[in-house]
Structures are given as structure tokens and as C-alpha cells.
Amino acid sequence: MSVSTEIRVAVETHVSGAQAPGRKRAAAASVSLRLLGYIALAVASVGLLLPFVWMLVSSLKRNIDVFTVPIQWIPDPVVWENYLTIWQRTNMGTWLGNTLFISVIVTVLQVLTGAFAAYGFARVRFPGRDILFLAYIGTIAVPWQAIMIPQFIMMSNWGLANTRWSIILLQAFGAFGVFLMKQYFESIPESLNEAARIDGLNEYGIWWRIMMPLSVPAIASLTLLTFVNTWNDFLGPLLYLRDNSLWTVQVGLRTFIGQFASEHAMIMTGSVLSVLPIAIIFFLGQRYFVEGIASTGVKG
């Protein structure tokens, strides 16, 4: 219950887009304090970014140049071939394809069923609704690790283990999408629904033609967060997918690391390739990531 209150607080801030003040303090702060702030920020960003820089730099080195004393920050020679070799050394193409397939289907299912259910919770009044929603909220505190065994047994009994569908089922019906969409729907004025009802639209029509078009920012957030989450999922695919041809990029990369632990440069090349799609998506749509996270603060 209180979780939803916190969430609502956060949502309201974002939905109203309130560029609330509270920042004016900075004006009073002296120049030296400001400078100190910049230095702190600079140090923090270096600390946060350095691992990625190191990953990228090492991926362009010869293997023997990865660990040198002192550290070689600019690869010499630059080995672009690493990015060609990796496709021959591993099944990277298949893995990327599998990951894309799973992520796209999960995202579509999550967004559609999540937004659909959210409308039921946000706009239709019926007995038992609030208890049902509480069941959704309650599972936020339940770790996946606690239920992975019964889940695995069920999936195996249905013959779904070692198929990509197991991962899709695992990821597609989370409470997360329902949650995020419900919060957003509730910020849309109810008078719009009433107007639409008077104009003869039924509830499904209202959902599709009024609520969904008005919720593009929330849909974008949910789409991006779900996609990234599914792309990065490691434990699910590790548990369910046994065949190399079914692996996602995470499991494939992990197995490669296990087999060729000393091929540092190649491992970094694979890592860069596994992160790259996410990085691109993130930089294109970061506004939606930030808003989605800030408005729910819940993820896997």
C-alpha cells in the first residue's frame, strides 16, 4: 500500500513535469563550493565510466597488450580485426538473433497485456479489484530466486524447458508493466473517458483510441525498460536454454569466457558487442528510461 503511495509521489512529480525549484540554494553557495561540486562530479564520472573505457580500449588490443604495466590507454597497434574474428570464433550472430527475438516478443506482450490490465485497474470499478492489485504489488518483494524451482519444474512438465518460449513466458507477464501503466493512466483526467463514453465508445475503444495515444511517454518507458531488461537477463536463459543454437548473447558470452578465460581482448570484444545495442537504445531514449525509473522505481 505504502509502496504505491511512494510511487504516486514520484509519478506526480514527473507527470506534472514540475521543474520544482529548491535548486536556488546553489545561487547562495560560494564559487569555491561550486568548484568543489564540479570536482566531485568529475571524479565520480571518471569512476563510473572508466570500466567502460577500459572495456573498449582492451577490445582493440592484441591479447598480450591487455595487461601491461603501466596501463596502455591507447591501443598500439589498434586491432580492428578482433571485431571480425569474434564472428568466426563464436556463434555471436545466432546469439544476437535469439536475444533480439526473445526481447521483441517479450516487450510486445508486456506492453500490450500490461497496458490492457492497467486500464482495468485504473478505470473500471468492480469488487475484488483492489485486492487483486495488492497481489500484484505484493510480488515486488518476492525474489525470483525463491520461485525459480517450482517455475522450472512447471516449465519442464510442459515441455518448454530448452525452448525460447520458456524465457518469453518467464518475462512477459511481470507486474511491472501493469504498475507503470496504471500510474500513468490515473494521471489522465477521467472526464475524457466520460466524454468518450457519451460519444458512444465502449471501454475497449476508450483504451485503444483515447488512453493509449495519450500514454505514449509511459509506453515508451515501458518498452525501453522491458527490452533492456530482457536483453540483459542472464539467469533465466542460463537455467532454461541448453543448446548453443538457442543461447542468448549473455549466456553465449559467459560460456565463451568460461572456455577461453585467457583471451582477454576477445572477451572484451564480445562484451562490447553485447553492450552496444543497449548503449545505442539508451542514448536515443534516455529521457524515457529516466522517467520510467523515476515514476516506479521497480525493476526485476
Binding site: 535548486r23 570500466p51 482495468g120 519444474i153
Partner: protein, 323 residues
């Protein structure tokens, strides 16, 4: 202006009650009311069902099954006998379980406060009109959305004891007994803690930033009028106003701390020895490596109980503070 709008809302609000309150033909009204209720229930469920079916089968059913399984000796062959609380008794005497429990608590006790303070500090730094804020927010958030396998791979190399960049830096600062990090039983857990804080800081920072936006500027002005210094403004204005956010962040951090798994799995696999064995991994090992599903489920119930308990305790604690 205000009066008209007030009237309008009042009128709208009272409309349904006055309509249902009309004395004409009450029986007919009641019947149509029940019909409407039925119709709404059908519509409501039709919206919820596609998601709820998946949610119920894949989340709710496994939760119930987990409790049942923990009372059986379920194994790989599916043969299961009801054994009562035997699994829990066995847990009490299992040294590996005690190690896993200890490690998980140790991890949580360090990770929660450190990440809380770090992310709040970052948020305060960023909650000002200075250049580069957008860039930094992006940077801070990036580790959170990067895949765990790549993160573990790069940090394992950074932590490399002989020629890794971190130990090179430390030795440049004159540190003599360089830590062995992931290959040392003493330093493996600190290595995990460092990476996890690095990874989650930006995420919680975003939550704090959203919270900071809700602090009314007037309060700061009033505090300044009263001559409050920056520190006392933070203590008497910022922190109290942030309490809902801090509460939420603490709950999420604690729950996530107790279910820590993926990084441990890929970075140290619980080792060296059992120095980074955590509860989730103990479940994985007993369940999927040794096929003791019943026993592993008992551990799962313990983990489940811890997470629920944290939520309840923090909920009531917050309630009390509010009152």
C-alpha cells in the same frame, strides 16, 4: 473563478448520489445497479485477464508450490514424500547454509547504507543548475542498464591481482600488501560490494532526484531567513521532505541486497571456497546442481520470509515516524 470551478466539481460529485437517491422505483434501480456491477466486473476482468493469467500461473502458483515443496523431499525424479519440517531442521544444522546466511547479512549490512549515502550524495550534487548535469545523469545510470556478464568480465580484469589496473593504482599510491580481490577469501566480498555499489548508485540516485523535486523551495527560503546554514538546511528541510523517497529506496535496497545473486554467480561463483556464497546461490546449488528441490525450497521460503519481513518492518517503522 475559483468559486465556479468549486461549484462545478461539487455538482459533478453529487450527481451520481442524488441520482441513486431518487425515491422513484427503488427496486428497478437496484436491479439495474446489480446488472451494472456485473457488467463492470466482466469488463474489468476482461482487461486484466490476459496479463493476470500469465502472472497467476508463473508467479502466484509457484509461490504456493514453493511452500508445499519445502515440506517434501522432492528430487529430480519428481518422487516426493511429505516430510514435514525435516528440511528446516536440516537447515539449522547445515554449516553451508549458515555461511550463506552470514555472507548475505554481511553483504546487506554494508551494501545498503553505503549505496544509500552514495546515491543521495550524487543526487544532491546533481540537484542544482550546473552545466553537465544531463551528461552526468546519463553516465551514472549507464552501469545499471549494462548486462551483468559484461560487467563481471570487465571488473574481473580490473581486479586482476598481478597486473590489473586497480592494483596498479593502489601500488602507485604506495600500498604494499595488494589485495587479491576475487581470488582471495578476504577480498572477494569487498570486490562484489564495490561493483554492486558502482552498479546501482545511479539507479537510486534517479529516485532521489525525483524526490528532491518535491521539496518546496519556500522551505529553503524560510530556512535561510532563519539563518540556517547549508548543513542544517539539509538536516531540517531536505531529509524530512525526502523521507518517503528514503523509505522506498531503503526497502528496495534491502530487498535487493538479500536477493543478491547474478553478480556473485558470474564474478566469483560463490568462491573462493565459500567466501561469497549467498542465499540465492545456495538455493541454485542445492536445487539445480544437486537436484534437492525440496531442501532448496526450504531455503527459498527463508529468503522469501526475509524479504517480506523487511517490507513489513520498514512499513510499520515508517508509519510510526509519520504519526
Amino acid at each position: 473563478m475559483t468559486v465556479t470551478s468549486l461549484d462545478a466539481t461539487a455538482g459533478k460529485g453529487s450527481l451520481p448520489s442524488s441520482a441513486s437517491g431518487t425515491p422513484t422505483a427503488p427496486a428497478q434501480k437496484r436491479r439495474s445497479g446489480a446488472k451494472l456491477k456485473l457488467r463492470n466486473t466482466a469488463i474489468g476482468w476482461s482487461f486484466i485477464l490476459p496479463n493476470f493469467a500469465g502472472f497467476a500461473i508463473l508467479t502466484l502458483v509457484p509461490i504456493i508450490t514453493m511452500f508445499y515443496m519445502s515440506l517434501t523431499d522432492w528430487n529430480i525424479f519428481g518422487a516426493s514424500n511429505f516430510v514435514g519440517l525435516a528440511n528446516y531442521q536440516r537447515l539449522l544444522g547445515d554449516p553451508s547454509f549458515r555461511t550463506a546466511m552470514g555472507n548475505t547479512f554481511f553483504y546487506a549490512i554494508i551494501h545498503v547504507p553505503v549505496t544509500l549515502v552514495a546515491s543521495l550524495a550524487l543526487a544532491l550534487l546533481l540537484n542544482r543548475k550546473i552545466r553537465g548535469v544531463a551528461f552526468f545523469r546519463t553516465v551514472a545510470f549507464f552501469p545499471y542498464i549494462t548486462s551483468i556478464v559484461a560487467i563481471a568480465a570487465v571488473w574481473n580484469m580490473l581486479f586482476s591481482p598481478e597486473a590489473g589496473p586497480i592494483n596498479q593504482l593502489l601500488s602507485a599510491f604506495g600500498v604494499e600488501n595488494l589485495p587479491g580481490w576475487t581470488v582471495s577469501t578476504t577480498w572477494a566480498m569487498p570486490a562484489i560490494l564495490i561493483v554492486q555499489t558502482w552498479r546501482f548508485m545511479g539507479y537510486y540516485m534517479l529516485l532521489f532526484l525525483a524526490g528532491l523535486q518535491t521539496v518546496p523551495a519556500e522551505l529553503y527560503e524560510a530556512a535561510r531567513m532563519d539563518g540556517a546554514k547549508a548543513w542544517s538546511q539539509f538536516w531540517h528541510v531536505t531529509l524530512p521532505c525526502l523521507r518517503p523517497t528514503t523509505f522506498f529506496v531503503t526497502v528496495m535496497l534491502s530487498i535487493n541486497a538479500f536477493r543478491v545473486f547474478d553478480l556473485v554467480m558470474v564474478m566469483t561463483n560463490g568462491g573462493p571456497g565459500q567466501s561469497t556464497l549467498v542465499l540465492s546461490q545456495f538455493i541454485w546449488q542445492r536445487g539445480f546442481e544437486q537436484n534437492q528441490f525440496g531442501y532448496a525450497s526450504a531455503v527459498a521460503v527463508v529468503l522469501f520470509a526475509i524479504c517480506i519481513l523487511i517490507t513489513i518492518i520498514q512499513f510499520f517503522w515508517n508509519k510510526k515516524r509519520e504519526a
